[in-house]
Subunit: 153 residues, 2 copies
Amino acid sequence: MSSSSWIDRAHALLAADGRKRGGARTAVLELLGGESCALTAVEIEDALRAQSSRAVSRASVYRILDQLECLGLVQRVETGQAMVRYERVHEHDEHHHHLVCDGCGLVMPFSDAGLERAIRSISERVPLSVSEHEIVLHGACPDCRDVEGEHHT
Amino acid sequence: MSSSSWIDRAHALLAADGRKRGGARTAVLELLGGESCALTAVEIEDALRAQSSRAVSRASVYRILDQLECLGLVQRVETGQAMVRYERVHEHDEHHHHLVCDGCGLVMPFSDAGLERAIRSISERVPLSVSEHEIVLHGACPDCRDVEGEHHT
DNA sequence: ATAAGAACGAGACTTAGTCTTATCATGGCT
DNA sequence: AGCCATGATAAGACTAAGTCTCGTTCTTAT
């Protein structure tokens, strides 16, 4: 199962970075390991409080996410929803991007080789050493499109 | 000059939408018309206050930007800098995207036909009617890259 | 000129995210 | 085992972007 291997890799990288173990970080890792798509810091805080597994304070959530981002274990995703989302990054995993429904806020992943190619080529021609990219396409999901058309029910 | 034609078009569309003229909106239009790249709401507020041309309250800035966005006159740009940027949209103008320096916050525009092609093709294959896209590549500008390497001055 | 309604300003309010400080846990060391 | 240095955590004050409300002022059609 790839999620537990991600957790293992995370623990290993953290140890290599000279970090000690702690209950809060372990809880966050386990939550992220079991999620395939992007969560906000607030969602993480709430989920942990609700799961009765272990509550983690807001400051810890942000600190832990920062550490994980520095180690390349999670990635920030800007969905234009006024808050940052985070999701785990797999080593070999194909890079994926996101579709956001502006109606209901639904976020879903997609990936495309042509897009990656285009971006790689741009990165070489531009006056900026590009470190990462994250593409978000906005639109309406099937449900929300239907609702829009229902001005006659 | 294309900026004044954008202002004219804006006034025309607003009138067609049944809106009356007002000093605050005119001031915002003139500022945006003279800017080629994206500004934040706060930058707009500050610029207008500083320019002695005409101060515009925060609520008005946001209200006006919303109206302009609805009419397709401005576009939101998510740069991942914890605040939204807005820039004017030209009818025929080729679509442009942005490079953001994570070191100093510099934002600069770029455009690429291959990228547009890739996105158009994705839009057709995805379970979401894509309405808009805005791509932001992150990295380090030449200045900031140099600074990073200067751990020995 | 007047009235209807749009535009505006002031400031209270909300909330994502940051920062501070005190307390707690961990693991090395004697 | 007991102590101590250091990193991890909790609680909540704080910052700032963005929203909301409501009373006032300005536009424009008649």
